[in-house]
Subunit: 240 residues, 2 copies
């Protein structure tokens, strides 16, 4: 059994939104960076998988934000893996400023064979995984499974150079930007905390035309991002 | 007279493009962050100006990129102010990896009265400025003055939440993203260095519909970003 590992960061100008507080997108960015760094440090990151033409893929993410850290705040992100089965690995996050928990997250990952585009049975790395498992519960409930919904509004966007990662797929964080760009500015400005759930279904490729559909009822906002062919991502944001 | 001041950074995953090298946008981001931090450290940053309802505004920027640093590289940014007159202050940048110069920049700033929206005579801060001036030349030629041009292609974009800063104006870096999003992916992938010139003329506000017009001849790309009312920004990129 392993221990919870912590990483230190500072909230930089590019991390804050117009309220000068860390945006949801940058909070998720810190969590995903820590996921990559921690997996690499413990010998089961993308670098170790690439040799085998495999890659980690984020399938679901749940994040609760209690307080958005201000610009130049020093923060700590704790991370630990606490569940592992043939299909997915669960990594947890807690963002803190000293002892105050600012945000928490639960992410579910699978391994994809980049040639066959099929999900790989994680049993192949059970031994390595057993060594890094931490005996601590997830800080929040698991990411919700989001079903198709009727949407009342939509916009379109073409995936561009500044959106893509080394696979020439749209970066996960751009989905976060897209959904928050559809929410009213005063809701974002005056929020008292939120819960975000993401289901990542397929990847958006460079040049692809996307439709970002959404609807909302009270404090709950639902999103579906799709290409001409299929649904790529569903998301839900519930403001407190 | 003062000395050149240096700041250390690491190229993070969010800084790299699909080639896993720092994008032009992130290189400029590091330069602008250093400008803000260094001005604050030396007592003439935005924080000191805000009391007087004044703010620093970037009017022109010239950047030459020789090599785009790779992900997780440790870099240093040197910065110094070496020119100052009633209308503008010139701040220089050199991005290094050990002794290799990766990029260089020259930025010209003016001070804006946020109430009257007029440029302020910088004589009011001459004494403070004199103390921070460094006796070293700019590393590259001053930013070019860009004139109106005929453009052959254009796209449209509406300024959204993820684009705006605390003034609810579009962040400077989004202009950089926009122009590079219009350039062919293979030009960006296979470039052997570039020179970028920016003229910032007016600010883009939240919700405003922008037109990004461009044309190119050989290795030179010209851009003009405008709202329905006026030209906001012109830019030129010359690839080597």
């Amino acid at each position: 059994m392993a221990e919870i590992t912590s990483y230190k960061y500072r909230i930089e100008p590019q991390d804050v939104d117009f309220t000068l507080r860390a945006s949801a997108s940058s909070i998720i960015n810190y969590m995903l960076n820590v996921a990559g760094t921690d997996a690499d440090n413990k010998g089961f990151g993308v670098a170790s998988l690439q040799d085998n033409k495999y890659t980690w893929v984020l399938s679901r993410l749940g994040v609760e934000i209690y307080r958005q850290a201000e610009q130049y705040s020093n923060i700590v992100i704790d991370t630990w893996v606490n569940e592992f089965n043939r299909l997915s690995s669960t990594r947890n996050f807690r963002m803190r400023q000293d002892d105050e928990v600012l945000a928490a997250g639960v992410s579910q990952w699978c391994v994809l064979d980049m040639e066959s585009r099929q999900v790989v049975d994680l049993s192949i790395m059970k031994e390595r995984h057993d060594e890094v498992m931490v005996d601590a519960p997830s800080p929040i409930s698991a990411p919700a499974r989001l079903r198709p919904a009727e949407h009342t509004a939509s916009s379109e966007y073409t995936v561009a150079y500044s959106d893509i990662d080394f696979n020439r797929h749209m970066n996960t964080l751009r989905y976060v930007d897209m959904i928050f760009d559809a929410i009213s500015l005063d809701v974002i400005e005056n929020n008292c905390g939120m819960r975000i759930d993401f289901n990542f279904i397929a990847e958006a490729r460079y040049g692809e035309r996307l439709t970002i559909a959404h609807s909302h009822e009270g404090n709950t906002w639902l999103f579906e991002i799709s290409s001409s062919e299929k649904t790529l991502c569903r998301a839900k944001v519930e403001f407190k």
